[in-house]
Amino acid sequence: VEHARNERMGPAALASLAAALLAALAGCSGGPAEQAPMARVGVLVPSSERPLWLALADSFETAHPGVRIDVVEGPQATDLRENLYTASLLAKDPSFDLVYMDVTWTSKFAAAGFLEPLDSWFPEEERSRFLPEALAAGRVGGRLYRIPVRTDVGLLYFREDWLRAAGRAPPETFRDLLSTAEALQDPPMRWGFVWQGKQYEGLVCDFLEVLHGSGGYWIDPATGEVGLDRPESIAALAFLSGCVRRAHVTPPGVTTYQEEESRRLFQDGRAVFLRNWPYVWRLAQSEDSPIRGRIGAGPMVHRRGFPPAATLGGWGLGVSRYSRNPEGAVAFIRFVASMAGQRILCLSSGYAPSRAEAYRDSDFLAQNPFLEEIARVHRFAVPRPRIARYALASDLLQRHLSAALAGTETPATALRRAARETRALLRASGFLPEAGR
């Protein structure tokens, strides 16, 4: 899940996309070139990351003079880029050799046959250098399709200053959070707890943390069993909807919030607790932030006696089946995932690296002391189900979660319906257990 998904494709993005398509066409017809053959490797990236990818491309091209990286600027919104990749791959179009993808796209693209397996390119020795959870997210049906280059985990941010003044410790359990939020809030100017409650992927991410923190599960990766209608799962949703409808620590408008709406409230000093991704830390601690130096972050709250959970997000690279230059594409992946590449991608941006070594590196820790906290929370990472029809499973869960938050379904009804529909979906599409990591 990416923040700032509301921006649209700008004219510059359209122009560069058109340029890429033209370049591809020129490639088909042989082109006018009699120059030395340069192998082109194309990749579509969000507009905000373009400078980082241009820097990566520059650095890579210096070491590999035969390969030219074509960084195509795409829209900022994750789902629009997913649509562009999907349309291009469906048309067997070779203009994007690399697929820069969210964790949740991998299974679908792999099942559709859009991706090249990477097992033979990346031997065990190389694979062991990544955070294990981040690497595992790229495995589908026992094969590796995606190399992680940056990782994300869900976090609970809190106002350290307010908590200290009230003599309260950062909350660990659901009950801690509710009591502190109730004590410190003053709605509607100051809310207790804000998160992502709109009907979209972010809602599933928030729910997944509460679900696993309650001892529940969505789809068992080994057996394909659906756990949504178990009592602990229903209790988990009852906690989330109770924040809005019973305890009133969450604004009713949460049913329209994505990452940015909730971050704005928190950064404006209008919320005690915020569930969000690591990117918030950098913004909340920036020069002009009114809450600079007043916040802390840790793992999400959970039921007493259970470990916390953090939804695993993040971005990785896969190789398109229609690439004309898989060798060049793999070489570039290897570079982005190396320490040198990770420095370019993550140091200035504040993104969390995917390479384990970076979390012990003095440069990284000096630039971003928050990495230690992320490494700690990473131990509690939970992946989303890796099934071909993940988007459908997520959508039908979103609908029922959203209905429970809006009050049109009770938590029990919502999750019983979601469980029934998920079972039907798995029966119809055929569930394949995940073969080892």
């Binding site: 997913e82 709109k198 329209t256 459908l392 938050l405």
Partner: protein, 282 residues
């Protein structure tokens, strides 16, 4: 010129238009029809298998499709009705001669000229619970005490969508009605105000048909403002078809939704035109 020569000349003249229609309309329509009769599976590649009418049977057992169909009908009826009333009212006012009529017409037309995605984003912020202008104005006017989450409840989200759509497209109805008014001689208008609506009816029917078809297929406004939420309460059939195509890669079912949507719209149009003919005949 012989009959045969004439025939040849005519077919030659029809060729460009015919080719264009075949490539741009006929082929895609046939392709969608074909897909709606197949299963599409993801098994390490995209596999297509004959399904007969199975996808259409699945449609009528799918509560999500039925909800989406209901939402589409509510959205279309509410927004088109309001647009017709407001559009005609604006047209009647702006047809009169008054100082500043030109600029007034331009201002009223402005919403129609804006790209839907952009204005949908603006409306989403207008209806935002904490930062939105709608709540601010209502609070200042003393009409509400607590900020409302406009897009957060099923009924208010649908109402917000209708408001945004009416704001955007009432000018279109106005434009057509204004054009219709200009074909009616001034003397007739001055002599009998009561006959204006019947004389305007042909123009209004065109506007109605255009707007009904567009509202029925509404996508960008809803996609940007609510994404079909909360709880699927604003998902329309075009949003559902889109999800099946692009998000689930289920082209068979997505096509079946599109085909069924078109069939239902066709039936609606048939019923409407039959009704109109019967009334004229009576």
């Amino acid at each position: 010129v012989t009959a045969r020569g004439l025939w040849r000349e005519r077919s030659l003249l029809l060729l460009p238009a015919g080719t264009l229609l075949t490539v741009a309309v006929l082929v895609p329509v046939l392709r969608v029809l074909g897909l709606s009769l197949s299963f599409v599976m993801l098994r390490g590649g995209i596999e297509t298998r004959w399904a007969g009418l199975a996808q259409f049977v699945r449609l009528w057992q799918d509560s999500r499709f039925l909800t989406a169909l209901g939402n589409t009908i509510v959205f279309t009826t509410a927004s088109v009705l309001l647009e017709m009333v407001l559009g005609v009212a604006f047209a009647l006012v702006l047809h009169r001669v008054f100082r500043g009529r030109g600029p007034a017409r331009a201002v009223v037309m402005l919403p129609w000229a804006l790209p839907t995605a952009v204005m949908a984003l603006a409306w989403a912020w207008i209806f935002n619970d904490s930062f939105g202008v709608a709540n601010d104005l209502l609070e200042r006017a003393g009409l509400i005490r607590q900020p409302l989450a406009w897009l957060g409840g099923p009924a208010s989200a649908m109402a917000s969508l209708v408001i945004a759509d009416v704001w955007k497209t009432a000018p279109f109805v106005m434009l057509i009605a204004l054009a219709g008014l200009q074909t009616i001689p001034t003397q007739v208008l001055e002599a009998a105000r009561g006959v204006v609506l019947p004389l305007l009816a042909p123009a209004l029917l065109v506007a109605l048909a255009f707007r009904a078809i567009q509202a029925y297929g509404a996508f960008d406004l809803i996609y940007v403002m609510t994404g079909g939420g909360p709880g699927g309460s604003t998902e329309t059939i075009s949003l559902y078809a889109f999800s099946n195509y692009f998000r689930y890669l289920d082209f068979g079912y997505g096509s079946a939704i599109a085909v069924m949507g078109a069939i239902l719209l066709g039936l609606l149009a048939l019923a409407g035109s039959t009704l109109a003919r019967l009334r004229r005949g009576a």
